[in-house]
């Protein structure tokens, strides 16, 4: 556990202990860690493996299977572009491409200033308002490519003002 500080080891151990009596505790543990730290690096997975007896390969498999979990720190604002069928036929690809161009990051990446993460999502169940985008849970319905620059600008200001 070379890279984890004592406080983190303590916190993660505590999270693991919370579910000690569950038969299948992994999803709950990972979910709590993701919420607590915003990501689950492999060092943390090794600690979870030690605590639960589940192999690191299996934990890594779960972390990389669900898009909710992340191996790397995410940005302050997480932009989720739905690329489900309905959104896709309504031009979602052009929307995500525009975000990608303005933020200079590919889907799945986080901007260098740590402000934005761009995620491509499978159907988020909002087909009636396609194409849809969510930013930290707030839903932006029926977006057009021309709406994108103003949104990015808004969050840049917000992020800068808060920082």
């Amino acid at each position: 556990m070379a890279h984890l500080n004592e406080a983190a080891v303590k916190k993660i151990s505590e999270i693991c202990d919370r579910y000690a009596n569950e038969t299948t505790p992994l999803m709950m543990i990972l979910s709590d860690i993701q919420t607590e730290y915003g990501y689950i690096p492999i060092e943390v997975q090794e600690l979870v493996s030690e605590k639960t007896g589940i192999s690191v390969a299996e934990i890594y498999g779960v972390v990389t299977f669900y898009s909710f979990f992340s191996l790397k720190p995410k940005g302050k604002y997480i932009i989720g572009c739905c690329l489900g069928t309905a959104c896709y036929v309504k031009g979602a690809q052009q929307i995500i491409d525009k975000f990608s161009e303005l933020l200079n990051i590919a889907p799945g990446e986080t901007s260098e200033d740590g402000l934005f993460t761009l995620d491509a999502l499978r159907c988020i169940g909002a087909c009636g308002i396609a194409p849809a985008v969510t930013i930290n849970g707030k839903v932006y319905p029926k977006l057009a490519v021309s709406d994108v620059p103003a949104i990015v600008e808004e969050y840049r200001k917000l992020g800068g003002a808060e920082a």
Binding site: I42, A57, T64
Partner: protein, 588 residues
């Protein structure tokens, strides 16, 4: 269990309830093409879709490997619809497969190629993106190539079932899915014990051993004095490489083949197994007498030693300090044998034929070399020896039976032979320990209580006025509870034998593949019986030996008289014993 009436291809059968269609059909005499002919709970996902059949009562085609039979079910394997679906499934698998079959080490043993032929898969029916070729060849033991993986998951299950480890797992999702150690790291950077069980179940060339045949070619062309030694388990399985029935002992033909391959000397690792027993039994008795660390645990299996170093670093003091037999052989070849034959150790090249992939790593351990000279220079698996013999054009079946070279290190006993099966080292050690403590041979010779394939076996042997409690475990999953007891300070045992692979060396990761679909002349239950058949080959060789106790091996006696002094002497320690090192960081 209740029976059900079913029909297959219109013929009525009565089969046990609860069987899958695949299992039921096999009993009735139908082999449905499948990639899980190895199905022993090691792939039960039904995800490859190779075994699709028609079954009444089901919606659409069903995967025979997971769909259970039911009363009145009518099954059609040969219907055009089912046959076409199976063919498409295989064509889809092939569409994302690196088809360099000619260069593939599984050429001849590939189950994917086998089902491709069975189903009549056509060339390049589906073109598209392919999983990139990424090869992990950083360990001396095992390679992994993602471009040949069909994601069946057998390796994942085997690692869990045999060792409780789960080094390999599925990563990512959708098309990006791969099977790999966490983080797609190399085996070298994960706490893998290199036993090769994953290789033995992989249906394709995705997992294979690192070949060392080229090293032998090089040594021979450089004019080195090349000495070969064979582990006991090899003779019990090598014949399978040449189509012989499982359980055929081929000791004499193996020796004849090795001689024709140009090795200067052909020795049996059994000689060194006897030497191991002399050292190990002496070490055990001295630990008992002098209050040393007990229980003492055997150290012949490099897979087990790797496991101990990764997971039980605090218990390394319990491992016998004895080198494994082939390493002892190497050390003796490069000292005693070199001296007697006027050879420079640098000019001797020692090749070990082993049923094991972890031995390839073991020989590279810094603890097993001195001044840059390794005890052993190359390790070939039983399968690689098969390749080498085939390459040379030798007709194995027609070879005469020949004897191992008899000079200096040629004698061996029945005790050495049984090292290849779980419980064998224990039994061999008991035969000698009994003699030392009682001053006479054990009347029955064989300690049958320690035989069999139960995961953990224990016995109490009375000798020298003591009740000696012993235990045997094979596969790390079985070893774990014994080790946890030692850690907790409540182990009742004096001596424990641990072997890395389930079944011991006869089922090692370097042994010939047991693929029922490719072995039409074996019984349908061969996966349940092959261990017993290979073990029987070794036990019967033990029974045929005139000398069956290591301490009665005349050349071992001579080796001590002329060279080593006595067991555990200073010289013996220098040459025949080793040290271990805990991995404090599980991931490097």
């Amino acid at each position: 269990m209740a029976n059900v009436n079913i029909k297959i291809e219109g013929q009525p059968y009565v089969v046990e309830e609860g069987l899958t269609i695949l299992e039921a059909a096999r009993i009735c005499g139908y082999e449905i093409p499948s990639l899980c002919a190895f199905n022993h709970g090691e792939c039960s996902r039904g995800s490859c879709r190779v075994c699709l059949v028609e079954a009444t009562g089901a919606r659409g085609l069903v995967a025979a490997c997971v769909y259970p039979v039911a009363e009145g079910m009518e099954i059609r394997i040969s219907s055009p619809k089912a046959a076409a679906a199976r063919r498409t499934s295989v064509e889809l698998l092939l569409s994302n497969h690196n088809k360099n079959c000619q260069q593939c080490s599984k050429n001849g043993n590939c189950e994917l190629l086998h089902v491709a032929k069975l189903t009549g898969a056509r060339e390049d029916m589906f073109e598209g993106e392919k999983t990139p070729v990424t090869v992990d060849s950083l360990t001396p033991s095992i390679t992994r190539d993602t471009s040949k993986c069909v994601l069946c998951g057998r390796c994942v299950e085997r690692c869990k079932n045999a060792h409780g480890l789960g080094i390999l797992g599925f990563e990512n999702r959708g098309f990006a899915t791969i099977v790999a150690p966490a983080g797609n790291r190399s085996f070298a950077d994960s706490p893998c014990i290199l036993c090769g069980q994953c290789v033995s179940v992989c249906p394709t060339g995705a997992l294979a051993e690192i070949s060392e045949i080229a090293k032998i070619d090089k040594a021979m062309s450089e004019g080195k004095h090349v000495v070969v030694q064979t582990a006991p388990a090899v003779r019990a399985a090598l014949g399978e490489e040449f189509g012989m029935k499982i359980g055929t002992a081929v000791t004499g033909k193996m020796v004849a083949a090795l001689r024709r391959l140009g090795f200067n000397k052909v020795y049996d690792t059994n000689f060194a197994a006897d030497l191991t027993i002399m050292e190990e039994a002496t070490e055990l008795l001295s630990r008992v007498k002098n209050g040393g660390k007990l229980p003492m645990i055997t150290s012949c299996s490099p897979g087990w030693v790797n496991y101990a170093e990764y997971y039980y670093g605090d218990l390394l003091g319990h491992l016998s300090s004895c080198k494994s037999p082939h390493e002892m052989m190497g050390a003796i070849l490069k000292s005693y044998y070199a001296e007697r034959n006027g050879l420079d150790p640098k000019d001797i090249f020692v090749v070990s034929i082993m049923p094991c992939t972890a031995k390839k790593y073991e020989k590279e351990r810094p603890q097993l070399q001195k001044d840059g000279i390794k005890d052993v220079d190359a390790v070939l698996t039983t399968r690689e020896l098969g390749d080498l013999i085939k390459r040379s054009g030798i007709n194995f079946a027609k070879l005469p039976d020949e004897e191992f070279d008899a000079d200096l290190l040629g004698d061996y006993t029945g005790a050495g032979v049984i090292f290849g099966v779980t419980g064998g080292v224990m039994e061999a050690a008991l035969r000698t320990a009994y003699f030392v403590l009682e001053g006479k041979e054990y009347k029955e010779i064989a300690f049958t209580a320690v035989r069999g394939f139960d995961g953990i076996r224990e016995a109490t042997v009375t000798m020298g006025g003591m009740d000696v409690k012993i235990a045997i475990a094979h596969g790390m999953k079985n070893a774990k509870p014994l080790l946890d007891d030692i850690r907790a300070g409540k182990s009742p045992y004096t001596f424990i034998e641990i072997m890395g692979c389930p079944g011991g060396c006869i089922c090692g990761g370097g042994q010939p593949y047991v693929r029922p679909s490719l072995l039409p002349n074996e019984d349908p239950d061969i996966l349940d019986t092959y261990k017993d058949k290979r073990a029987a080959a070794l036990y019967s060789e033990d029974e045929r030996q005139v000398i069956r106790q290591s301490h009665n091996n005349p050349q071992i006696k001579k080796l001590y008289d002329d060279f080593l002094g006595e067991p555990n002497s200073h010289k013996a320690h220098e040459l025949l014993h080793t040290t271990y090192e805990a991995h404090t960081e599980r991931y490097r």
